[in-house]
């Protein structure tokens, strides 16, 4: 049903200014795969997702396969003013933008789609409520409803469960798995390794600017041998090697 892309990343370097956060990344993402990105804070998880979403230009290297497909991206902090006077349904309906455009009203024939999306995230009765009335978990559910309506081939999520309760996490993880089952490519930055082990078949681990990729069992069971840290020039002079 979707045109999930085969993404080929070659020799990718990402960073801010000239300081690279991610270096020499080679990574093939199969269409319809479900991948977790793990790594400590500052290891470049968000940076990589931003680059794949087209919000950050690579310092070097190539990312092929992203152009032809519809990509949706949920940053860790959406930056949305939670007091903004807009209803849950209207927020979710922004996901239809690519299909409807910005110059016409969203027609009534979409209302079924919007209700269905809100139902899937467990906000069936909340369509008319202002987003200001939502809890943190409910707000994240509303953003997931928007993702459903985006109907993307490639879905990038940055720590989507970081600030939500256990029930919400369980529901939203179910949606993520559903998306992958529908043939969409889903890539999720996470820090909860139990979650990764339970739900994500593939894992990309970022550490010290280098990446390891493989089946989750393989990457997590080893968790090492840790990639050799890059030794800055002059580090040997003191005679100690970490």
């Amino acid at each position: 049903m979707t045109d999930a892309p085969r993404i080929m990343i070659r020799n990718l370097a990402l960073g801010y200014g000239s300081r690279p956060v991610v270096e020499q990344l080679d990574w093939d993402v199969a269409p319809g795969s479900l991948t977790a990105i793990i790594g400590s804070n500052g290891s470049g998880k968000s940076t990589l997702l931003r680059a794949m979403a087209g919000e950050l230009r690579p310092l070097a290297g190539t990312m092929d396969g992203l152009d032809g497909s519809v990509t949706s991206y949920l940053p860790q902090d959406s930056g949305i003013d939670r007091a903004f006077p807009i209803s849950v349904a209207d927020l979710a309906a922004m996901g239809l933008w690519r299909k409807v455009g910005g110059f016409v009203q969203i027609g009534r024939h979409w209302s079924g789609e919007i209700e269905r999306a809100l139902g899937l995230v467990g906000l069936a009765g909340a369509a008319r409520r202002p987003i200001a009335a939502l809890s943190g978990g409910q707000f994240q559910r509303a953003l997931f409803a928007r993702l459903i309506l985006e109907d993307a081939d490639l879905i990038l999520l940055d720590e989507p469960f970081a600030a939500v309760d256990r029930d919400t996490t369980a529901d939203l993880v179910g949606l993520v798995r559903q998306w992958a089952a529908e043939g969409r490519t889903v890539i999720v930055a996470l820090h909860d390794l139990d979650q990764v082990r339970q739900h994500f078949p593939q894992t990309l681990r970022l550490a010290g600017g280098r990446a390891t990729y493989g089946s989750t069992a393989q990457i997590l069971s080893v968790l090492g041998p840790a990639p050799v840290p890059k030794v800055p020039p002059g580090a040997f002079r003191s005679g100690t090697v970490a």
């Binding site: 003013d81 006077p85 200001a132």
Partner: protein, 288 residues
């Protein structure tokens, strides 16, 4: 009743013209104000309004009290402040509120200095508080034109403006080229503040933009309704302000702004959405 509400406009041409000018400004400016508040850019509006002063003053120095020269100077200077303040906060570590305050103060001082170089104190008052009771016909046409262009653009771009205020990063991803919406909005803000400058003066222009919109925020929970309520409050403030000024012999521009100020204070206290009164009824910690 007729004597109080209708007669001033029926009997005096200058009152009719003032009413038309003020209503045009209210129609155009109040929707802009609603979006300035939604985008947390109220201070930007203030800085632009003050930025218009030195621009219009340069026009005045070169060409006297010429509508074209002062309008053009005001537009250029207002746009420079709008873009400049954003650039400063992007390129330096200083937060935008500080750079906006700096721009506001520099503009005000420079403007007053420039007008005083040539003009009398009367001219200076005209710059600071407008001349709604003495608007020439070409100024009225300009104000009406600005309000028309502004409202049409708003109607056409409404969903884009809402999306750009709510989640600009999302909009950039799903609609290529949507970054231009922000600049169209800034341009509309500058245009309406120049219109407001002619009618209400540089110190009061931003008042008719921000106060009705801030008041409207306390009455409704959708963007469209906020815009409508803001326009209604702005228009009522203009009519009430003009009548009070006429009967009590008050300066019209501050009287109109004070009327919207009263509307704001009342809304703040007893409005239906997040006002002092509604928050007192809720248990602590529940967002309204």
């Amino acid at each position: 009743m007729y004597d109080i509400l209708i007669a001033p406009f029926a009997d005096y041409v200058f009152m009719r013209k003032a009413l038309i000018g003020a209503l045009a400004v209210a129609l155009g400016a109040a929707p802009i104000g609603a979006f300035l508040i939604l985008r947390r850019m109220s201070l930007t509006g203030d800085a632009i309004a003050h930025g218009i002063l030195p621009g219009a003053a340069v026009g005045y120095l070169l060409a006297g009290l010429s509508l074209t020269a002062m309008t053009f100077g005001g537009l250029v200077a207002g746009m420079a402040v709008a873009l400049g303040a954003a650039a400063v906060s992007r390129r330096t570590t200083q937060r935008e509120d500080a750079s906006l305050a700096a721009f506001t103060l520099i503009s005000l001082a420079a403007g007053v200095m420039l007008v005083s170089l040539r003009g009398s104190n009367l001219d200076l008052l005209h710059f600071l508080f407008g001349s709604v009771l003495a608007l020439p016909d070409d100024a009225l046409i300009l104000l009406a034109a600005i309000a028309t262009v502004s409202l049409l653009t708003f109607a056409f771009l409404f969903r884009l403006l809402v999306a750009d205020a709510l989640d600009p990063a999302f909009l950039r991803r799903v609609a290529k080229g949507s970054g231009v919406v922000h600049y169209v909005f800034l341009a509309l803000a500058v245009l309406n503040l120049v219109a407001g400058f002619h009618a209400l003066g540089t110190l009061m222009a931003v008042g008719i933009m921000i106060l009705p919109a801030a008041a409207a925020r306390f009455w409704t929970r959708s963007v469209g309704a906020i815009v409508v309520v803001a326009v209604v409050i702005a228009a009522l403030s203009c009519v009430t302000g003009l009548l009070l000024a006429f009967h009590l012999d008050l300066p019209p521009s501050p009287t109109m702004i004070l009327c919207s100020g009263v509307a704001y204070l009342v809304s703040l206290l007893v409005g239906r959405e997040g006002s002092v009164m509604t928050r007192r009824r809720l248990p602590a910690g529940v967002p309204a």
